[in-house]
């Protein structure tokens, strides 16, 4: 018996060595003898996803890609000024970069460039060498964790919706919360305090368990018995500002985007964590204006938000001039210690830009404010004309003028939205539909010291063809410095619990009442 065991062990070891050896051999065999001697294509190779000429985080997972050139054998050499080059050869056009050498190469070349040289062998045996792709490795890392929501693009029926987190250093994705664990409800925007998920808020809506917000503090999950729509944490962690929106969805009978959204009413409020109460202030909840998308400045002294005038009287019907609703960018001073609001200021008006200003997000160093602008409305995801813009707040403080410019390299002819800063203020994660609406994918863009965005990279996947057939959209990508450690079952249990922190909404809206459980998902749902 023991002898047999020994034989089996030896056989297994030989097999393992063989497999590893073959794997290593097959990765490098079949490459051309000398790259210099090869015929040159005189152009860059086509690869997908398009990872050419990009700035790469030094801590990102391998940017696997497909060589979109005809050939029967492919050879790829990825090299930097320092460290060992990675050589991959094979018959497959899929280039799967081994993780460890990739990590070593990025670490060695942080702040420098790497070259991706691609050679393709035609059926007749001749090799063609393409011009090298040169990518820059940023010196500043991106936050390790990206938290996003995945759902089907319709979102009219609360199908399968989940919040997931991805370790950006590799390909590992884990589930944070699945709506199937609480009766197929809706799980909304997730918001972290100072990029740390140990203090976070998560909104849920469920026909079975009601609408609530989950407050997670150091593993302790509490259910707040009211709905937060868009939320922003004050840097002190004492206060979270949120919007209450009476969302109404409608549909276009023609045109590229079928869905559209209008807020029939909205206002801002804030939740004081220690007291467990919600409050509002007159300037952030004006009866004749629609306030939404709150965003605290990192020093906590100002709350930025968007606001549009209500030009129609009937609050429960979609206005005929819905395409004339344009939001201004506002800010209001706040003293967290005294819980006192200061004067309201206009940062940028829709009149100046002739577009609707939405989703302000300020970099943690307080210098940059990135926002979306689209032709009208409150929901940039549904607007193909939505692009990202940036304001230098430091310059504005000196000049008194809020000058903005587009993040041209990050934008496309499709919708850009849902941007999130990294904790070091150098990276933006954002949603874009450039690869095929209605599917939203996550892109990562480097923003340099001058406030210029560089060509973004698509969130890498182990299988480079992953997105070609992936039927769910990625929305609300939020960068975090650590993974969410609260388990999905703890979150689901908290949602299913009947006890919650009872809060009285500071304002009760006219019909339809915001914060009430919606009668049908399709009426209020959006990506």
């Amino acid at each position: 018996m023991r002898r047999r065991l020994v034989h089996i062990t030896i056989l297994a070891a030989v097999l393992a060595v063989g497999v590893l050896g073959y794997g290593s051999y097959s990765r490098t065999r079949g490459h051309p003898d000398s790259l210099d001697a090869l015929a040159r294509a005189g152009r860059l190779p086509r690869i997908g996803p398009d990872y050419g000429g990009v700035v790469v985080p030094p801590n990102i997972a391998p940017l696997n890609f497909v060589v979109q050139e005809d050939g029967c054998r492919f050879y790829v050499r990825i090299s930097g000024e320092r460290g060992e080059a990675i050589k991959i050869a094979g018959r497959s056009d899929k280039v799967l970069i081994p993780e460890r050498p990739w990590r070593r190469l990025l670490e060695a070349n942080a702040g420098r460039s790497v070259r991706v040289e691609i050679c393709v062998q035609a059926d007749d045996g001749t090799w063609t060498r393409f011009d090298p792709i040169v990518n820059r490795i940023a010196a500043e890392p991106i936050d390790d964790v990206l938290v996003y929501r995945k759902l089907h693009p319709g979102a009219g029926a609360w199908g399968h919706i989940g919040i997931y987190q991805r370790d950006l250093r590799g390909f590992r994705e884990s589930l944070v919360l699945d709506n199937r664990s609480f009766g197929n409800g809706c799980v909304n925007c997730h918001t972290f305090c100072n990029h740390r998920p140990d203090t976070m808020l998560l909104s849920v809506r469920s026909s079975e368990y009601g609408s609530s917000a989950l407050l997670i503090e150091d593993g302790d999950v509490r259910k707040i018995g009211t709905r937060f729509t868009y939320t922003s944490w004050h840097s002190s962690g004492k206060v979270a500002a949120y919007s209450v929106n009476a969302v109404s969805q409608f549909f276009h009978s023609s045109g590229a985007e079928v869905r559209d959204v209008v807020d029939l009413a909205s206002y801002l409020a804030y939740y004081v964590v220690e007291e467990g109460v919600t409050k509002t202030a007159p300037d952030i909840a004006q009866k004749d204006r629609l306030e939404t998308y709150p965003a605290w400045s990192p020093d906590g002294r100002h709350l930025y938000f968007c606001s549009a005038p209500m030009t129609w009287s009937q609050r429960n019907v979609i206005p005929k001039d819905y395409d004339q609703i344009k939001y201004d960018l506002m800010r209001i001073a706040y003293d967290v210690e005294r819980d006192e609001w200061g004067p309201l200021e206009t940062v940028l008006t829709a009149e100046e830009t002739d577009r609707s200003i939405l989703l302000p997000r300020i970099s943690p160093d307080g210098r940059w404010l990135v926002f979306c602008m689209c032709d009208y409305g409150c929901f940039p995801v549904y607007r193909a004309d939505s692009d990202l813009y940036i304001i230098d707040l430091e310059a504005a403080a000196q000049t008194g003028r809020y000058e903005y410019h587009p993040l041209a390299a990050a934008n496309s002819d499709q919708s850009e939205s849902w941007h999130s800063w990294s904790s070091n203020s150098r990276w933006l994660a954002f949603s874009s539909k450039r690869d095929g609406a209605p599917f939203t994918r996550t892109y990562l863009a480097y923003v340099d010291a001058e406030g210029n965005a560089h060509k973004p990279i698509l969130l890498p996947q182990k299988d480079p063809t992953f997105y070609d057939s992936y039927l769910r959209t990625y929305s609300v990508p939020e960068l975090a410095t650590e993974p969410i450690r609260t388990t999905k079952e703890t979150l689901a249990r908290a949602i299913r619990r009947s006890e919650s922190i009872s809060v009285v909404p500071p304002i009760t809206m006219a019909t339809p009442e915001a914060g009430a459980t919606p009668p049908q998902p399709w009426m209020t749902e959006r990506e």
Partner: protein
Amino acid sequence: MLSRSGGSEEKAAVSAASGFSANLGSCVRSAIFFCAFYVYLWRVVDVRLIYYAAGMVSDFPAFFRGGAFFRPFLSYPGGLAEYLAAFLAQWFAFPWGGALIVTLQAWLLAACTGAVLDTAGASDLRWVRFAFPIGLLAVCSHYTYPFVAVTAMSIAWTATCLYIAIASRLNERGRHAECMLAFGALSIGVYYIAAGGYLLFAVLCAGYALLQGRWRVGGACLASAVAVPYVLGVLVFRVSVEMAYTVGMPSSSRVGFALPRDRLSGISAALVLVLPLTLGVAGLWRIAAHRRRHDVRETEEEPRRARRRGPAALARAIRVWYERRGVLRWGLGSAVLLGATAAAAFLSHDAVQKATFQVHSYACRRMWPEVLQVARSASRSYSTMNAVNRALYHTGRLGSEMFAWPQHADALLLSGQDQDMTFWTKFDTQMDLGLINAAQKNYTECLEVYGPHPLILERLALANLVKGNAGGARIYLGALSKTRSHARWANDCIARLEADPTLATDERIVQWRSVCMKEDSPTIFAPGEGQLQTLLRENGRNRMAFEYLMATYMLNRQLDKFVALLDRLDALGYGAFPRHFEEALLVYAYATRRSVFLHGRQIDPQNRQRIEQFSQTLNRHNKDRQAALRELAADHGDSYFFYNLYGLSGVKR
């Protein structure tokens, strides 16, 4: 009754003598049964209709090739059973495939049941194994199939056989600890693969152990049925308690967002219980037999014993005689099986439901003559009416035959049911009319509700291609290229997109684009008439919009609007009036006493004659509509005259 419990010497001798021939007979019977079962499912039931019933079957699992689809199934217990179920489900797209899958699963369940009963000493109850194919036949006859539950059961049954084989060997050698280890290892495997199916495995193993008289092992198995899902599911995989115990069971609604049709969920649940209950009955029978023997031994009243022996001896003699007649036994057994199966097939066969599914299936595949061929037998539901009208339009007969079929004003566009996904075919109607955005919105919501069924993805790809959104279309096509049923079509589309990104040479796409609504009228849901008017205003050659608008006016008896649209006939290339148009014109003229401009056309004299006859019949009954109903229905039940008067159609005998 049971071979071991009642194991007399005679019976053993009989069994030994006839064992080979009995086994052969049983094999032959099984082979014939399952062949017939397969042919019946394929040719009579046509289980392929389950695949084509997108919108009617909510829990049909979609399958895609590749790791991206596979990996999520690894993350929770029961995921692999769901993956396997989805893999098997894709074969339902083929006429022979679904029937083969059901037959193989039925055979596996039956074979495992037979094996379990044999080793448990309950061979006389082997006939119970046919409950599975008969039950599945009844389920399939109603065009539903619990894919995951049957797969989880198959896994549990196979694992039980494996355990019994291992346990019988190890126990013979007295290695009870290793036997428990084997059970533990299988428990982990079975729970991970089949989740809720593990409960069945544990219960069956417990039943087997109890029948063997090993009470502690049986108790341990039963305890593990509770403990293993909690430990592995709740504590290790961190799924909810409900999920830990129910994924893979017929009651689980996890596969589809919408609740599956529960018409026959009772049968599915009963199938789960068949084998555990049989083992329970066998155990009780054995206990009863044991007590009886014990009682007999203890009594000393010989005369009474002798009296009792009389009928018992006779019964035994008959039984021995019967068991020696192998051919008779085979024949009788086969006849009973045939009778039970035929009864199940007869009772579960629902011709109307089959025809309804066929209408849906043919309409999905745009097989218009076939739709009309089977629609007479289908239910008179709105979706059937909707499909019939599409078929009539596409075969050029809507204006002349629509009132030969049951009609309802709400069925033409199903526009009042926008949120009701059960009317799935209406989205195809919207697409054909040119309401591309409405169709796209509804297809997208279907994707959420019914999952990524290839038929839904195909339509979403087409809607995006029509709108010129090649990027979005590519993603749907990319997903379809990983399916078995649509891979060729999807790859062909992708290749054509490479060559011509606008697909300007694709006739079908060009046709859809030509009728596509251009005016953006943002709304929640526009009324059907308004949409048709817009389509016709934008494109005077949109013949379908015209005919549907005319049909809407006829169905709603808005004949003034109907007459106002007649001037479009020339532009649309009509020669003579379609029959119902003439009938509507005559009704309008008679009712309003106004002359109608016929745009150079003539009214068919036969139609004039018909309305005269209609009027005479009504007058003969003193204009009493109810009194004239029967007679008018017999002669004019397929005419607009009749519909206009009674609101009924398709009633001509």
